[in-house]
């Protein structure tokens, strides 16, 4: 039988170490809604989302109180809208009406965010894909909960450089449209290489075409729990360090598995995956950078950071995999700058640069995430940074992403406030040299060779 120490350990994780279930995300296929009439399409999408997700908020609340585990976000991910809206939409403006519908539907069911205003263009763009991408600045500006993602590259297809070039311009447009609010709408837009079909985390969640009608995906979190566990093994060997991370990750993931199974049972929707991610928040003690410091670095960004992060990421996966029946999504440590107090401190101390962050993304999940850059950064420079990140994912056969925030009207030395869970970020300098001629080339970068791994 369970003993008092085990009960206290679990409750301490929740009360003092910020253990929580970061998100329950319902993936909903909208393929059945496809219609050539735009009005009918919007009506069907609204009905479909509000039917499937109608009990999401209530069920999450019940699970939260019965088990005493906070569930921070309730979210929805839908089929990439470029596929759903292609038959009905003849202009970017028409596409944006679907974003309005998603926003209304999410609000109606109490979902914090809804993802899937997306296009998958890793090899080429259809007319619909391009229209959707061009509609992103309109859509994000006038909706609250809609998140957008674009898959620009994959290991199998290479990098679609035409789309990379376009996204540099689109990102600046999004920034411009929300310049009176420190360009915050850029937070709701992310570009990917090798985007997973079952990611529960925003802004990149969408319900892939390989998925069933509806599915429950859960993202757990617990950087604070790992940090506290590591405080007890200071100075010990790598063996002890790794074992401690694995055991902690196991425990954290088990909570996610329980919540996912219960949510699936109560909502009558199949369980998809657990995303084994360490997702930080700006709350003190909820930081991935603090774990790196606990492992032995003065600041994230110090020499050894990439190795420490690689170790952390791998042990989290090893511990988590056994704790869950199905693992998927992004699964790994997130290193967003603004959402992690330890990262913010590292930037302010001058310990970490964009280039070091880029190196870190080679060994952990996602990529250049929530990074504020000067508002006068050229579109081609943004495309260049995106291309670099896509190349890392493509060659290393992993998911990488970029969520950059060019803050219009601000420069290096300024700070930008995003509010709540999104935190704040000091604006980081971007390498000032030009890549115009590279970015202006047309076409795509071919897929890499899958042999001669050097």
């Amino acid at each position: 039988m369970i003993n008092i120490f085990e009960v206290n350990e679990t409750n301490n994780m929740v009360e003092h170490e910020n253990l929580d279930v970061r998100t329950i995300t319902i993936g909903i296929s909208l393929l059945e809604c496809i219609d050539s009439d735009l009005e009918k399409l919007n009506e069907k999408i609204y009905r479909r989302i509000t039917t499937v997700a109608k009990d999401l908020e209530r069920v999450a609340g019940e699970i939260e109180s019965e088990y005493g585990i906070p569930i921070v976000n309730k979210r929805i991910a839908v089929t990439p809208i470029a596929l759903v809206g292609g038959a009905a939409c003849q202009s970017p403006e028409e596409f944006a009406t679907i974003a309005d519908t998603m926003d209304r539907a999410a609000e109606a069911v109490g979902a914090n965010l809804i993802g899937g205003y997306s296009a998958l263009v890793s090899k080429g763009m259809t007319r619909a894909d391009e229209m959707l991408i061009r509609s992103i600045p309109i859509a994000l500006c006038r909706t609250k909960r809609v998140c957008s993602s674009v898959n620009l590259a994959s290991t199998k297809t290479g990098i679609n450089m035409d789309a990379v070039r376009l996204m540099g311009e689109i990102l600046l447009e999004v920034a411009e449209n929300s310049k009176d609010r420190d360009s915050v709408d850029c937070m709701k837009l992310v570009v990917f290489c090798n985007a997973p079909d079952d990611n529960p985390f925003m802004a990149g969640a969408f319900h892939g075409v390989t998925e069933a009608d509806a599915v429950i995906n859960v993202g757990v979190s617990g950087p604070g729990v790992v940090k506290t566990a590591l405080e007890k093994v200071r100075g010990e060997s790598f063996e002890v360090l790794c074992e401690t991370i694995k055991k902690t990750a196991f425990k954290v993931t088990r909570v996610g598995q329980l919540v996912a199974q219960e949510a699936s049972r109560r909502l009558g929707i199949p369980f998809g995956i657990i995303d084994l991610s360490l997702a930080p928040t700006p709350a003190v003690g909820d930081s991935v950078a603090d774990i790196l410091c606990e492992i032995g670095l003065e600041y994230a960004g110090a020499p050894g950071t990439t190795a420490a992060l690689a170790l952390l990421n791998d042990q989290v996966k090893k511990g988590g995999v056994m704790a869950s029946s199905y693992v998927g999504g992004l699964s790994g440590a997130f290193i967003p700058v603004s959402e992690d107090q330890g990262m913010i401190d590292a930037v302010q101390a001058g310990a970490i640069t964009l280039e070091k962050l880029e190196a870190m993304t080679c060994v952990c999940s996602v990529g250049l995430d929530m990074i504020a850059i000067p508002g006068d950064t050229k579109a081609s420079a943004i495309s260049g940074m995106i291309a670099d990140e896509m190349a890392l994912g493509m060659v290393n056969q992993k998911t990488t992403a970029a969520r950059l925030i060019p803050v219009i009207g601000k420069g290096v030395g300024d700070t930008v406030e995003f509010g709540g869970l999104f935190g704040y970020a000091p604006i980081m300098p971007v390498n000032p040299y030009s890549c115009d001629a590279f970015i202006n080339r047309k076409g795509r970068i071919p897929a890499p060779i899958h042999s001669f791994k050097n």
Partner: protein, 94 residues
């Protein structure tokens, strides 16, 4: 496989005072909730108790019981939490 039961863990944490266990147990017996196990320690002056209870025949719903115990805790000056056992079972047992 162990049969799925309706076991609940009640934890009471707070400043030690006379009659904490009595008051909680009285509440439980009034609502036909059976106590299966009790353990208790004092950690740095703080009273720390865990009860495993069976709510199969309880005359009250889980969520109501949770709320009422919280109120009761407020009256005694301790914090009372009520959680389904599964979360602990999942985390600490393979």
């Amino acid at each position: 496989m162990e049969q799925k039961s309706d076991k609940t863990i009640i934890t009471v944490v707070g400043k030690d005072t006379v009659g904490i266990i009595a008051k909680v147990c009285t509440y439980l017996s009034e609502h036909n909730i059976n106590v299966l196990d009790i353990s208790q320690t004092i950690v740095s002056g703080y009273f720390n108790m865990m009860m495993i209870v069976d709510m199969n025949h309880a005359k009250i719903s889980f969520l109501d019981c949770q709320k009422e115990l919280e109120v009761l805790g407020g009256q005694i000056g301790v914090s009372i939490k009520c959680q389904k056992e599964e979360i602990f079972e999942k985390m600490h047992r393979i």
